[in-house]
């Protein structure tokens, strides 16, 4: 049986029966009436429309429409609108915010305009905070009287339209609540497939308008005296962020970076108790690679391994430190309070190694690159000199070579395990050369 045909009857109004709560003469009501007209003309399903309102008297607006409604925090409406639209691209998202909300959420306006996500922003611009008692806002003209500028405002007003244009908005228009064509403009902005901003100037009859004698005529004159343009200021075509996002996602490799890399233990280590090492080297010296190689070699040898890193906030300079714990049992405490072995890989690691030198376990082993002075008894220090290799080793495998040599001397993991682990850490040929060099170093006197 075929489904019954569906007839779509356009709504005659998107308003519900609740009267507006605004003061007599307030511009908010007339703008909302024009919004309703625009919605009727567009004829979209109310289930596909969401009004995202900000805070303030203008923030009450969503309650008078039978559409979806989202009433969030002061100045943050654009962030909710972005989430709504990205998660459900079919939605028509209309943001209503006051000049106050636009000011406090300025960073969101810049970012949203730059993205060009398909959102429509209606700024109910009455030059002050209506709801909280007529304080000045980002759009209050210089010299204007507000409850926080009793001697006249000292700052110049933000040109919202110019800001939106400069930030990349693709539809920008300035209007007033008195304009006969406001409904058409709102419809145009909603239909525009990108970020659209309509800066609508209007009276706050409780505060700003009477204090500054800003009626219909004076509003238009104010625009001219400030040199602010009126009407459609900018309309252009640019890729819409949501569409671009989804297209780019299709081109991204589906290879996940968080899949398990399972390690099957297939070698044996002679270690029978937890063993704690500290590897101290230079930032950029591949200390992490060396530590990771050692841990994976240990796991391949049926041990458990943990690696804890420490480095300064700037990663390409100074020291790089790794604490490594190897154990026949799962490791709960991955810290190295007292080390069983300390490996100083480069001069930068010396200072970091110093505190560990003063609290080594008895019988601990100390290894250092040839030529690095340590505050330890020189007879205890086992010197490693990778430059003594027959062929010069690339600098990026020196740390791996030294750590593998230490692992062999301490019998933490067999050569085959170190080789298998190293080959997983980088270019197999270079890593293999590193392990060859480590084998020679380990047996050198």
């Amino acid at each position: 049986m075929s489904p019954a045909p569906v007839t779509v009857t356009p709504l005659s109004t998107y308003r519900n029966d609740t009267p507006y709560p605004f003061c007599p003469g307030c511009g908010h009501g007339p703008i909302l009436d024009r919004l309703n007209e625009a919605l009727v003309a567009l004829g979209r399903d109310p289930h596909e429309i969401v009004l995202v309102s900000d805070i303030g008297c203008s923030g009450l607006s969503d309650q008078y429409f039978d559409t979806h409604a989202f009433h969030g925090l002061h100045g943050r409406s654009l962030t909710y609108a972005t989430g709504l639209k990205l998660a459900r691209p079919s939605l028509t998202v209309i943001v209503i915010m006051g000049d106050g909300g636009t000011g406090i959420g300025g960073a969101h306006l810049l970012a949203a305009a730059r993205r060009n996500l398909d959102l429509t922003v209606l700024v109910f611009n009455n030059f002050n905070f209506g709801m909280t008692g007529g304080q000045h806002s980002a759009t209050t003209p210089a010299g204007a009287l507000t409850s926080t500028t009793p001697g006249g405002h000292l700052e110049r007003p933000l040109d919202l339209c110019a800001t939106a244009v400069a930030s990349g908005a693709t539809y920008v228009c300035r209007a007033t609540s008195f304009d006969a064509d406001l409904g058409r403009r709102i419809g145009e902005a909603v239909a525009h497939p990108g970020f659209a901003l309509l800066d609508i100037w209007e009276p706050c009859t409780a505060y700003f308008a009477p204090r500054n004698r800003l009626g219909k005529k004076a509003t238009t004159e104010l625009m001219a005296s400030l040199g602010f343009e009126r009407g459609l200021m900018h309309q252009s075509e640019a890729p819409e962020y949501g569409a671009v996002y989804r297209a780019a996602a299709r081109g991204v490799s589906a290879a996940t970076s968080v899949a398990s890399t399972l390690i099957e233990p297939r070698f044996r280590s002679s270690l029978t108790r937890p063993f704690r090492l500290v590897l101290a080297g230079a930032a950029g010296g591949r200390v992490g690679t060396a530590a990771h190689m050692l841990c994976r070699a240990a796991i391949l040898s049926d041990l458990f391994a943990a690696e804890r890193r420490d480095y300064p906030v700037t990663v390409k300079t100074g020291y790089s430190l790794a604490e490594v714990v190897l154990s026949p049992a799962p490791i709960e405490d991955a810290t190295v309070a007292a080390a069983d072995a300390l490996v100083v890989l480069s001069p930068e690691g010396r200072a970091q190694a110093a505190p560990y030198l003063s609290r080594l376990v008895s019988g601990a082993r100390i290894f250092a690159l040839a030529g690095i002075e340590l505050t330890a008894d020189e007879r205890r220090v086992e010197r490693l000199d990778p430059s003594a290799a027959p062929r010069k080793l690339p600098s990026d495998v020196i740390a791996t070579t030294m750590v593998a040599a230490v692992a062999l001397r301490l019998e933490l993991a067999p050569l085959a395990a170190l080789r298998a682990a190293a080959e997983g850490e980088g270019d197999p040929a270079r890593m293999s050369a590193a392990i060859d060099a480590a084998e020679r170093l380990a047996s050198a006197p």
Partner: protein, 355 residues
């Protein structure tokens, strides 16, 4: 088969296996690896991950996305948590299921970006205005990072509230060895997070009225004292009345023990080793690792305290959870073992405090 993995990766896997399809975040050490992983993982799966202009926008976008039917995660650290504050209140008021990872670092202010601490324990509980209850879970191992992330999504959707996953720099960035499967990644996850009915999304068949203002059942603003009270009692009761269900601890109790050691998060690692060492030398010690920090797991604590004379609370702050334990400990001796120098409490330090 074993795996060498860090907590951050386990959290990301937990989120993906829970069906998370939206992430918004702002870079901050030590939470950035979660942002970077989600940026790689979500788009090819048809989800959305975005680096927002700031933390206020991050959580705002997540709230918007959830209300449009997405399952969202965000992650940050102390300074970002401060910027989340107002929107956390919005998520409580609007009953938004949202998982927030706080990868703790040393505070206050910028503090130590690459330094561990557990200083946000009371902050997550009281971090927004109004004083309403929230749920906070604290993973104590890499396996927990996965398991509790999944649990966080389940709880968020069941109770329709923000759920915090309170982790820290060391837990997230230290790599450790686990048995295969302990942190997901093998086979297809069971979709347990879908067990509860989803909220009616914006754009769905029912017109949705979402608001951060005090509202009636239909989402309209109200000042009617009866309706105001009903809403506020509901926001608290939906969590308070389900404490037993939310409660999650790892109890390792011995009947003869007179000493109980309590910790949570990364500090539990040192505690577990210390308790083992103490028992090897003939000391009967009980151990409780708290995985559901908020609401305080009172039932589990009451049974763990049975027969105990001395309680040691180990944490990387100046006694934030100690005061919660003191409220329940009666006349027992309660001592804090604390470290706030950016280092972890070692098993040796815990051992010294419990034998």
């Amino acid at each position: 088969m074993r795996e060498f993995i860090d907590g951050s990766t386990a959290i990301v896997r937990g989120a993906l296996d829970s069906g998370c399809d939206f992430f918004a975040g702002y870079p901050i050490t030590p939470a950035s690896p979660i942002l970077m992983a989600m940026m790689r993982e979500l788009p090819p799966r048809g989800g959305v991950a975005i680096q927002a202009e700031d933390e206020i926008a991050s959580i705002g976008m997540c709230i918007g996305a959830v209300m449009a039917g997405a399952r969202a995660l965000t992650a940050t650290s102390g300074p970002g948590m401060s910027l989340y504050s107002e929107n956390l209140g919005l998520a409580i008021m609007g009953e938004v299921p949202l998982v927030v990872v706080d990868v703790q670092r040393l505070g206050p202010a910028t503090g130590g970006a690459t330094t561990v601490a557990q200083g946000d324990v009371q902050f997550v509980r009281w971090g927004t205005s109004g004083g309403f209850p929230i749920i906070a879970l604290a993973p104590s191992s890499i396996a927990d990072c996965y398991r509790l992330t999944r649990r966080a999504f389940e709880l968020a959707e069941r109770f329709r509230c923000p759920v915090f996953l309170v982790s820290d720099k060391e837990l997230n960035l230290t790599t450790n060895t686990i048995e295969a499967g302990e942190a997901g990644g093998v086979g297809t996850p069971t979709a347990s997070a879908h067990a509860v009915p989803a909220l009616a999304p914006v754009g769905g068949d029912d017109l949705v009225r979402f608001t951060g203002s005090t509202h009636d059942e239909r989402g309209f603003l109200t000042k009617d004292p009866r309706k105001v009270e009903r809403l506020n009692l509901h926001l608290a009761a939906k969590i308070e009345q389900h404490r037993d269900e939310i409660e999650l601890v790892e109890a390792d109790l011995v009947p003869q023990a007179r000493t109980l050691v309590i910790s949570y998060g990364v500090t539990a690692g040192g505690q577990r080793e210390a308790v083992r060492a103490a028992r090897r030398t003939g000391h009967a010690v009980s151990s409780l690792v708290i995985q559901s920090l908020w609401p305080v797991p009172e039932r589990a604590l009451a049974s763990a305290l049975h027969g105990i004379e001395r309680v040691v609370v180990a944490e990387l702050n100046q006694g934030q959870y100690l005061r919660e334990i003191e409220k329940l400990a009666g006349s027992r001796e309660v001592v804090g073992l604390q470290r706030i120098d950016g280092r972890l409490l070692t098993s040796d330090q815990v051992l010294e405090a419990i034998v």
